[in-house]
Assembly symmetry: C2
Homo-oligomer: 182 residues x 2
DNA sequence: CAAGGAGTTCAAGAAAAAATGAACACGTGT
DNA sequence: ACACGTGTTCATTTTTTCTTGAACTCCTTG
């Protein structure tokens, strides 16, 4: 077996590997594919914008995975476009505002689910108008209130995450009172 | 092929099926096994406490699945014990306070993950003390601040979810109708 | 307008996660 | 002490999800 041309192009540094591992487990915690975590981790660790090729090369994953991962990450605003003069490839750079990413995730992934749920629920309520025991109505009301609460919660979360968006200097976190929000 | 004894024991009603379907998709949205959603849905729809047998029979899932699902749901306080005189089997009943379930989920599933992440991060920081470029430290600080924010956020979420459910003193009534909860 | 670069799609294969069910452990009642 | 009812465990099987890579589309450029 012989090595031809560039042997092991673009190895990851230890730190890159560690940061990537961090986001891989974060991704899995959110029920997202491992590769999405890898990709975000790579961008997060990178000082400069990267293109699809770089991702494929450094992470040694397929073009398909890289393409889908990048698309997803862009869809939730975890990656932003970066234009590089004289390069036809699309480059991207990691968003590092937790609030923007959380907002993107919520509005792209969670809200639609909730909406579906709410609709399905209405359908159930309609069906059970005539035939049902009191308990069914009670339960339907309960879920409805849960969905409403969730919808009210999102802006609060967003607001909270923006309160501390630090320019510099991680100020020791003041206890923030929920009353201050809303 | 002949039917012996009870033919199709304990069929689910339409409404039960619908409610269960709702929780199945909720479970999947949270990255939990479908069966957990089925089980919670069944309890949620039930007026009376149920035991493992009932779950196996009505949902037609294995004893193993039912056992693990019930255990998990109890671990996050989505199911509460209910004692039935003269019956050796453990019965359970669905918790229907969203706040209690959310708290359980956060403290059992999310907090530990975060803690791991924080530790791993410290390890990275230690390793990179000597060798690293400024950008690495900056990135580590960023993630640290994210973890801190998350920790601060949980109590706020909990507090928010409790604002509307307790019968006691609705200090701030938001436009939500709730005849539910406890 | 042909050739080649960049990115997407999607069927098929690989990997991971969940469900099953038989064996087991633990009580309880006789 | 034994038999039986109840629930747990975990190796195996099944199902689901993720990844791959070749084929394709769409640009861009010479």
């Amino acid at each position: 077996m012989t090595f031809v041309g560039k042997t092991n192009t673009n190895q990851l540094t230890d730190i890159e590997r560690e940061l990537i591992a961090f986001f891989v487990s974060a991704a899995q915690a959110f029920g997202l594919p491992k590769s999405y975590g890898e990709i975000y981790g790579l961008f997060f660790a990178s000082e400069t914008p990267l293109a699809l090729d770089h991702v494929v090369e450094k992470l040694q994953i397929s073009k398909g995975s890289a393409s889908q991962g990048i698309r997803f990450l862009k869809s939730i605003n975890a990656l932003n476009p970066a234009y590089i003069a004289g390069d036809r490839r699309d480059h991207h750079i990691a968003e590092n505002s937790l609030r923007l990413i959380a907002d993107g995730f919520i509005s792209q992934r969670i809200r639609p689910e909730l909406k579906d749920g709410a609709e399905r629920l209405k359908e159930i309520a309609r069906q059970s108008k005539n035939t049902s025991s009191p308990i069914v109505h009670e339960r339907i009301d309960t879920i409805t209130s849960w969905i409403n609460k969730a919808e009210l919660l999102f802006p609060i979360v967003s607001k909270f995450l923006s309160t501390q968006e630090e320019r510099v200097s991680p100020k020791r976190s003041l206890p923030i009172h929920h009353k201050d929000i809303i």
